[in-house]
Amino acid sequence: MRNVYLDHQASTPVLPEVFEAMKPYFIEAYGNPSSLHQHGLRVREALKKAREQMAALINADSGEEIFFTSDGTESSNLAIKGVAYANERKGKHLVVSATEHPSVMQSVEFLERQGWTCTRVAVDAEGIIKIEELRAAITPQTVLVAVHHVNHDIGAIQPVREVGRVCAEAGVPLYVDCEASAGWLPVDVRESGAALVSFSPHRFYGPKGVGVLYRNRKARLVSVIHGGVQEGGRRAGTENVPAIVGGGLAAEISLTELPRRTAHTTALQQRLWDGLRSKIPYIKLNGPEPGPKRISTNLNLSTEFIEGEGQLLLCDLNGIAVASGSSCVSKSLKISHVLSAIGLDHALAQGNIIMTLGMANTEEDVDYTIETFATIAAKLRGMSPMWDEFQRGLIDSVIAPTGRGKSFSQHAADVSGKAAH
């Protein structure tokens, strides 16, 4: 059976040369970078080099503006809480887009329970932030604006340069979560004027266990983890040296590989979407069309009349690894908040599948995925009462309404007694 990994948004394999670069830092160069002897000084140099490599990936001035954390979630927590606490006397208001990663959304909710307030700025149907609403949301009490670069669910590319301009005019620091873009799209902190940027090497062929937070020297930030003066006092705890070394090399390789990565995934993305929509009726792409507003690695799909977890399981049984934002996949039984924010019908959100491409994927992989996914959709539709009721004109399609029958949501509400959230 063919194995097709289409979940590069979740993680990527470590490049062999990255793995080789990490190896000496487990057994040979095992020192703690905080130690003052040879063992410590040696790895301190290695961290310094990795900081420079990370800084270069995002066009930052110097490695001194790079802090290492454990992952993207920790970076978000540090960015949001660290800036909020540092500016508590200035104001207690935050502005975020409605489609930030849960690590941003839930850090904000945590602060709200402690007396901060937050404005969540709406996005349009493609998932792009409404700039004028962002401008209007900023008040004299606002201490931070958080807008991601590329959406983790639907691949929408935010206009970070414009967002940066709005923030600069208002004199409010901007945090840009680049977890879904770094290593695949150019990230330029000078262009956006971002005060803080986060990204994680395991998303671009580096190891897990290290997150990166860039902080412009002018932005105030306090630590949220206490117990040491590592990372300039902004993040206590011994650094994950092997992962940082590997991550640094992965960043350096990414910088030179960016054009090749974009070209490779752009072609496959178009082939995959064209194939799926020609083989499967009533399928919808969520987020912008492939092109300048969408990252080349991501397809977020809704296949009507069937549910996402079943699709995911059958894909997996056929060697295809995908993700889903369906409520059945989430432990909270809620659909992805990103799909809610773009106003996607609940029935379509239920049938959600996310495919994210990488460098190892081939045209053959894409063709196999198209064929297999079409078979899976047909199999699940054969089991679905909704598909049958649509055929009989009892319920209508959301994607291509026929004008016959009631809406899926109305039907679901009728049979369950109340509307699904």
Binding site: G310, L313, H346, M386, D388, S416, A420
Partner: protein, 142 residues
């Protein structure tokens, strides 16, 4: 990868991959369609009832792997039961027969129980005389 890992146990996966009794029944005596407000899943069970006993059962499900497996197992379990026995059917039977479900997926088995009972109620409503002959009235069912 040499080993295969599964999200659910082998019984659940088996029923998901090869569901029993999937489809509709022509001339069904009772049909129940219910939805789960919590997640949005929808399940439909059709029954053929003869002499107060469930002769045949079919399901159709819009839902996750465990919802499909739960409806497959529920239709297997209720075939041959009297209306009276079927009215006492509990989701726990489905969970046990499937060898357990993850806590967050227990509601899938509840949906199967509800779909079955909705189908039985539909039968009683449509066939009050036959149901009464088998010891049931619409009032009892409601």
């Amino acid at each position: 990868m040499s080993e295969t890992y599964t999200l659910y146990n082998s019984t659940v996966m088996e029923h998901f991959m090869n569901p029993r009794n999937m489809g509709d029944l022509k001339d069904a005596d009772g049909v129940g369609e219910v939805g789960a407000a919590a997640c949005g899943d929808i399940m439909k069970i059709s029954l053929k009832i003869k002499d107060g006993r469930i002769e045949d059962a079919r399901f159709k499900t819009f839902g996750c792997g465990s919802a499909i497996a739960s409806s497959s197992m529920a239709t297997e379990l209720i075939k041959g039961r009297t209306i009276d026995e079927a009215m006492k059917f509990s989701n726990q039977e489905v969970v046990d027969a499937l060898g357990g479900l993850p806590p967050v997926k227990i509601h899938c088995s509840v949906l199967a129980e509800e779909a079955l009972k909705a189908a039985l109620e539909d039968y009683v409503k449509k066939n009050p005389e036959r149901a009464a002959a088998a010891g049931h009235s619409a009032a009892i069912a409601a």
